[in-house]
Symmetry: C2
Amino acid sequence: MPTAAPRIHAVILAGGAGERFWPASRSAIPKPFLRVVGNRTLLEATTARARRVATRSGVWVVCGAEHARAIRAATQLPPARVLVEPVRRDTAAAVALAALRIEAADPEAVMLVLPADHHIPDVGAFATDVRRAAVAAVASGALVTLGVAPTRPETGYGYIQRGDAAGPDHPGLFRVRRFVEKPDPARARRYLRQGGYLWNAGIFVWTARAILAEIARYMPELSNALESLRNAGRRLSRTALDAAYRSAPSAPIDTGVMERSRRVWTLPVSWHWSDVGTWESLAQELGVATGQSRAVAGELVFDDRGGNLVWGQTGRPVALVGIEGVAVIDAGDALLVARLDRSNDIREVVKVLKANGRSDVT
Amino acid sequence: MPTAAPRIHAVILAGGAGERFWPASRSAIPKPFLRVVGNRTLLEATTARARRVATRSGVWVVCGAEHARAIRAATQLPPARVLVEPVRRDTAAAVALAALRIEAADPEAVMLVLPADHHIPDVGAFATDVRRAAVAAVASGALVTLGVAPTRPETGYGYIQRGDAAGPDHPGLFRVRRFVEKPDPARARRYLRQGGYLWNAGIFVWTARAILAEIARYMPELSNALESLRNAGRRLSRTALDAAYRSAPSAPIDTGVMERSRRVWTLPVSWHWSDVGTWESLAQELGVATGQSRAVAGELVFDDRGGNLVWGQTGRPVALVGIEGVAVIDAGDALLVARLDRSNDIREVVKVLKANGRSDVT
């Protein structure tokens, strides 16, 4: 029996700080606001992706108060669609808040949850798979996570191990056997060789009803904290939100629900995806390789070795002599030179700067 | 028999471009104008050194037209003491021009020739040795070159091989056996081990009369070209200088006279000297070593490896992650990141930029 296309509400989670993108990213200008690939910011590209699959007025953003104004300006969303968290409470609370608001607006809605700062160039393929996941989510009540087919033994991502097929009514969907943390290189190679492992992209599709039920089951504290918002109707007072949110526990939706629920499915997808989580992953994204450098803005006027990533926010000419495998991030008021394979440690720099009260450059 | 102290005129040669100090040095702001060590520019420090030994009104500068105004401002010398070369003709012509002007002002004068952009911290020791060399130059008519006692097997300097002692009347002075080009590391180590080799610092002491005689003998073309200036008296017209200078050949005083004259002596000196010719030699000067970085201006806020030189003209904070043995030269309108041991190749960068018409940053 043919079913009507599900009505999708897309929820963009824009709470991340992106410290590893220092000094291009700051508390005030986090990673979603950066133009890291192409001419649009990651947030603009994510919003366009969300619009592609969502119903009219079905695009939402959850963000902190400090970024609300910039996000409204960048996304052009109506104020009621920008859910401003009074305090930061990690992704489970953000998802719950969005689910409650969507349920109030459209009780039968399917939710698509997507991080604000990932890179997915093929929007058409993305939309097709989101719609397939949405159909399955409506029909089964499953929590569907999109699993990206790995193309290399990446140690920077978590993995999903596929279980049994979800059944003849849901071709292409699988139960999730388990979620696994970022592996070491040997395990990452084994996952790739063995097959059946997918990158956990943090992109979820489920009905508002289903996720609220699973939150109630596995995170009752969170559920209770936000219960008062349930009957808020279409308008939500800032006072009510504030009171409810402050009492909510802080946990990621992954550990809070996804790793515990028995209704979790995955839809393996084969389009290109990157979390562009570090300068190294951005370098990879841009095709930086031995002998091959890339400049994101700025002008690389001399480079005798290659394999470097230059981020020239000021547009100044940059010359590299005898340098290889290095990120040069020229952010106007601060300068970073870092080995690309040490990209994860840039959080240390931010930590030290914050400890020294350098809010001017963090 | 006691002799009167010779009257010393000091000639500062400020014609060098200092391309290897790009991007801190530019055509418009060459190396003598940089504050590389301490609070004074190299030119200011050199002028102070010259004043220490020269007679009142006995400090001269030879420079190009493009820097004359800045040099007058920096040195506070009277206009007649700043000899502006109409075209660049290397050091032999600069020395000859200065010798002719000094001869006109004081026929018995001793000339001290010193580059504008070297670093000599102990001005007292320097002055003592210059005066000793001056006494010998007056008494003997020798061309005396100061030879710096080497402290390491440096491959970036030319060497002077000492010959026989100059004789009982001139204790401490030696004839020069030969000048040798920058050696490879093995030869540099041999020179150091063997002894009798000195660094050629390009600092000369001679009477105006003696150097003009040797120029006439070994560089007759240059001598003839400038002959018309001989009788110009105290005032030298720009037209006369222009005509004479343009016809002068271009050659260094080293190859033109010093390596050929039979009247060349050396005074070995043991004070600290550096030509601060490259970022690497500046790093050495500042005590940069494995685990030990230095920031000349700018602020090094994070540096987990060390051995780096940071030149932060803009004062911005700089963070280095996993970086060692590298120069980070942040010059406001251009940025260089270079391995210190590749410092000599920075001239290549300038060459490429000039070839591409980038006069904005060269």
